[in-house]
């Protein structure tokens, strides 16, 4: 009887620990994760031009992309960098202020969040600049 109670308690504690861990699971850390895909900006844009369903396999994947900054749009907490007129990357403002200028070549790592058909841009969030 005693043994059964101990076993059940252990199981219950394990379940609670697991649930708490899941509930408090930290946000994905893009900087320290390996990227799932690596593209040049031109390659990635071309991929979307050729295939309307290019989004599907890329959702939530970490993508490294290198290209040229064609526009910077600043906002209160985050800024948007546009690479090669077709990829928009959301970055935190303290990252954005590292002397980034239009025309610069950069390498960015971020999480794919979809294709914005309003401006025809490939969207990456939680981006970090690696080069």
């Amino acid at each position: 009887m005693k043994r059964a109670i101990i076993t059940i308690s252990v199981v219950i504690i394990a379940v609670i620990c697991y649930a708490t861990y899941q509930y408090n699971k930290p946000q994905q850390d893009v900087l320290s994760s390996n990227s799932d895909y690596s593209f040049s900006a031109i390659q990635l844009i071309e991929k979307f031009n050729q295939d309307a369903n290019a989004s599907t396999p890329l959702f939530d994947k970490i993508i490294t992309v290198s290209g040229k900054i064609s526009l910077i749009e600043e906002s209160t907490n985050t800024s948007i960098l546009i690479l090669n007129d077709g990829i928009k990357c959301e970055i935190k403002n303290n990252d954005a202020q590292q002397n980034l200028t239009k025309g610069m070549s950069v390498k960015i790592k971020g999480v794919f969040s979809g294709y914005d058909d309003m401006f025809n841009e490939i969207a990456l969030v939680k981006c970090v600049i690696i080069e």
């Binding site: 546009i82 979809g114 401006f119 969030v125």
Partner: protein, 179 residues
């Protein structure tokens, strides 16, 4: 040289058009679900929007996967269980208003009625809201609005197990500054 005046005219037109179409890629959409058990807040700082003053239309494109939550698990559940963002990646709104907005004077238009259609989770529904449109000193334009979204109306089912954690009506706040 003969073409010179028309060239100037063309340039002038370009300037006018450039001012007519106001765009932003950094509009903010946030929502709040409040229940006694749990409060859920999420925001998206990457909302695309176009405001056409001469045509008096405004459009928003919100990528659902760009919403950020306090907890990673909430973000996962939001995308996978509720809005099914791989199947329906974006929420879209298109609306019209009647106010004449004068870009040359800094002014606040407090009660602009916007009538439109919202596409969300594969469902199209009419959505009317009141917005505040502000022409700022630096000639940028800010649009702010707040409206409720009823989850059931957009076929979003909340399982009985978590019903007391998620409000049936979610308040959405839009804050866009156009350059």
């Amino acid at each position: 040289m003969k073409h010179f005046p028309s060239l100037i005219l063309l340039l002038a037109f370009n300037v006018i058009f450039a001012q007519d179409k106001l765009i932003t890629r950094t509009a903010k959409a946030s929502f709040f679900s409040e229940t006694p058990v749990e409060n859920i807040y999420a925001e998206n700082n990457q909302v695309a929007s176009i405001l056409l003053l001469p045509k008096k239309t405004v459009a928003f494109n919100v990528l659902l996967k760009s919403f950020k939550f306090e907890k990673a698990l909430m973000e996962e559940h939001f995308n996978e269980k509720y809005v099914d963002s791989e199947k329906y990646p974006a929420a879209k709104f298109k609306g019209t208003f009647n106010e004449d907005i004068d870009l040359t004077k800094a002014k606040t238009y407090a009660n602009v009625e916007i009538k439109g259609q919202m596409i969300f989770h594969g469902v199209t529904k009419p959505l009317n809201t009141i917005a505040e449109i502000i022409v700022n000193e630096d000639k940028t334009v800010t649009l702010k609005s707040k409206f409720p979204i009823n989850l059931e109306a957009y076929n979003i089912e909340v399982p009985a197990l978590v019903k007391d954690k998620i409000a049936p009506e979610i308040e959405v706040i839009i804050d866009a500054t156009y350059k």
